[in-house]
Symmetry: C2
Subunit: 289 residues, 2 copies
């Protein structure tokens, strides 16, 4: 499926998802829907469904898992933006969740998105069977204390401290990389990809996740608020160590290009045509936000 | 299995669970472990595993699901206690999570517990198969926006407002009742209980959940801080409507007894001997904290 078509399918699925809900507690759906439909790039669900798509044809069938992945990503942003965390006012060009709905509702909206993601993963697995459950387990593990949350913990604990290159790489591998890698691998598992391909997808996902984070750090320095939809130079303000503070912009741009080329080489060795994934990989290298 | 033995088994499982973890980000395990091992009554995992136990004999096998249920309950307490929510300093006679680890770590410890619970549910389902996945889905749905989180939302939105009896019952059915009911039903599903029994367990769980919440409201008025391990009269302070403000203490005590008797009648009609569940039901009516 063409990348833009797939993005539209994901956008529509997420838009309709919370619209259908109505109850005493509809505020929570409004808060959740606000952050999920604020215009994300949908990189993780795209990676998941494009990977599935290069092996199988019925990609619409796996939209629940694509949506679940985006819900997990979105909940992590809502909680990261809270006053007691990074204290951000702006996300994707709009006020952050707690600025609109209050801190208590933002905590609950995040909780609800994480919980709903898991409900969706289980529901899909009840229909699609064991491969879906294995893929769900991959996603759930990647988003937990040994993955995304673990990275966020190290990020918070290292604020205002000088951290080593190893700690920096650990932090980013976990905070951003794990869910990106798991999205790719889950697509492969669900599509029943051959073992050699699964191994390759794991490597690809790792390198892509790292390239993605380095690019993020570059944009935090070189991008404008308008372009990024969030305040730039936040890492500097919070006195955080990132790839730029360790390697400098030029070296980071080199690293990013090199990792992208390595990603493409891996994709070239798969048993199927991965043109769409290659296109997405290049677009992530060249993105401006 | 005898109730106290089962409680010890659950306690030990939870104690060891986070001890095994060690990594860069061990603070998150310390924070999670602090709240989970602070001495809860383990009512939900007990209800789950006792229900399983009246049908099957290999109850130790389902400890991952028992632990997952307690993790979900614990995460909800950590987030409920946050300054932006109920702002509580004391829980189970000890300082609340954010008082010890800071607000940011308390948010993340809650997230990590919810996430880890889902990982455990999926992991167990990969081993035990479809009934385990169905039971997991029951738990995950009950803890989400249509269940526990939904109740918490109505609770927060109704602070300082007069709410109707219907809203009060909705709020408590969702906030406390859903996970209690789901714990019972999940035990039955996992044990492959007959359909008639599953229906009965659903009714039992609903009534028990309501009785449990009414008893909680009574204790909030009649209990001391030492006895409860948390500050009493919190609902009054926060100007919240509860069963006491609507019905008064005497009527609430009557309601509680009546619901308990109805619970026992339902258990008497099951196809198996439910003595252990009956014992737990009475002990919940007579509890002092």
């Amino acid at each position: 499926m063409e990348i833009n078509n797939l993005k539209n399918t994901i956008d529509n699925y997420l838009k309709e998802y919370f619209n259908e809900k109505d109850s005493y507690n509809k505020t929570i759906y409004e808060a959740a829907s606000y952050s999920i439909n604020i215009g994300g790039k949908r990189i993780r669900p795209l990676l998941f469904s494009l990977t599935y798509d290069i092996y199988k044809e019925d990609t619409k069938k796996v939209m629940p898992m694509a949506a679940a992945i985006e819900m997990i990503h979105t909940y992590s942003l809502i909680h990261d933006d809270l006053p007691c965390m990074d204290d951000d006012d702006l996300r994707r060009g709009k006020p952050t969740n707690h600025k609109v709905f209050g801190e208590n509702m933002a905590v609950l909206a995040g909780d609800a998105l994480l919980n709903e993601a898991m409900v969706l993963l289980m529901k899909q697995s009840l229909t699609l069977g064991e491969n879906s459950l294995k893929a769900s387990y991959e996603i759930a593990t990647a988003s937990g204390a040994e993955g995304m949350i673990g990275g966020q913990v190290v990020d918070i604990l290292s604020e205002g401290k000088k951290i080593s290159k190893e700690q920096l790489e650990y932090m980013h591998t976990k905070k951003t990389g794990e869910l990106i890698k798991a999205s790719v691998v889950a697509g492969g598992i669900l599509a029943n990809a051959p073992d050699d391909d699964l191994e390759a997808l794991d490597k690809y996902g790792k390198k892509l996740g790292l390239a993605f984070q380095i690019k993020d750090d570059i944009l935090d320095i070189t991008g404008s608020c308008k372009q990024l939809g969030k305040n730039p130079h936040r890492d500097e303000e919070l006195n955080k160590t990132n790839f730029i503070t360790v390697y400098g912009v030029e070296k980071c741009e080199e690293l990013c290009k090199q990792l992208t080329e390595e990603c493409i080489e891996i994709l070239n060795r798969l048993t199927v045509d991965a043109s769409s994934l290659k296109e997405l990989t290049y677009s992530l290298l060249n993105r401006q936000n």
